[in-house]
């Protein structure tokens, strides 16, 4: 079965990004497809590559990047939500005249249409948020 995922809260602050990660791993292990994870609201903060959690803590962004790389998951960060919150890729940074960007490998910035499309093209949609 195809399962679409929405992550609505930021890393560490809420458990949502962790629960979503464990859920997706289990879904893949059971043979389901997870074509896309859509990061919305504060969920866009998961995509920063500048996070430096303590050594004895999980690294939420790296976990997602690794899982997506292994299984070909499309990690989409909502552009409107990301702009407000200061998450930019190189293109966006140039377009907005910003001197830095902070999106990690494996994540891409795109529009809300990708969320609707995911809802249309998957069999189930599961939201992790607050």
């Amino acid at each position: 079965m195809k399962i679409g995922i929405v992550v609505s809260e930021g890393p560490y602050t809420h458990q949502a990004a962790d629960t979503a990660y464990h859920f997706v791993k289990s879904a893949l292990a059971k043979g389901h497809e997870v074509p896309r994870v859509f990061f919305y609201h504060d969920g866009v903060n998961v995509s920063t590559r500048l996070s430096v959690p303590p050594q004895d803590e999980r690294h939420i962004q790296k976990n997602w990047t690794a899982l997506a790389g292994e299984h070909g998951i499309d990690l989409v960060v909502c552009i409107a939500a990301a702009q407000r919150r200061g998450l930019l890729d190189q293109n966006e940074a140039e377009r907005q005249g910003k001197d830095a960007n902070n999106i990690a490998e494996g994540f891409r910035i795109s529009g809300l249409g990708q969320l609707i499309e995911m809802g249309i093209q998957t069999d189930r949609l599961v939201t992790f948020g607050d």
């Binding site: 929405v6 919305y40 609201h41 409107a80 939500a81 529009g111 809300l112 249409g113 969320l115 609707i116 499309e117 809802g119 249309i120 093209q121 949609l125 939201t127 948020g129």
Partner: protein, 135 residues
């Protein structure tokens, strides 16, 4: 994409204290381009999103409540509001702004988009969806 799915946007949070109400509306506007069967549910504190006369000047936050009145132009015409949620908050339908659409199947007659439903009806509406997006 020829398949039409039933999408329900569930709004359970108040406006302005948090951004969920505004960002939910942004999804609805984008989603309207996909020609799906769209409904909005307002229950619990979500009913506060639709109150009349919101004026955000002092708090310096953008007032997005007029956008609800534009939803008809995007063919988003089903805004279900839970009666019990209103009553628990000391509100009634008259406290909500008027939101209408022009019904193309009825000679463009102007009709109300807000439909007050009971909690049991809301449960039925939720159970009739393909995709539920929660805000």
């Amino acid at each position: 994409m020829s398949e039409v799915k039933k999408f329900l946007y569930v709004n359970r949070k108040a406006p302005y204290g948090t951004i969920y109400a505004l960002e939910s509306l942004e999804v609805v506007l984008i989603g309207a381009a996909f020609d799906q069967d769209v409904s909005l549910a307002f229950l619990d504190d979500g009913v506060f999103q639709l109150t009349r006369n919101q004026n955000t000047e002092t708090i310096g936050v953008k007032n997005f409540s007029p956008t609800f009145r534009a939803l008809g132009d995007y063919d988003v015409t089903k805004l279900y509001v839970e009666r019990e949620s209103l009553a628990e908050r000391g509100l009634s339908e008259s406290d909500l702004q008027e939101i209408t659409y022009e019904d193309e199947d009825d000679d463009w007659a102007e009709k109300p988009s807000i439909r007050i439903v009971s909690r049991a009806e809301m449960a039925d509406i939720m159970a009739d969806q393909d995709v539920v997006l929660s805000f």
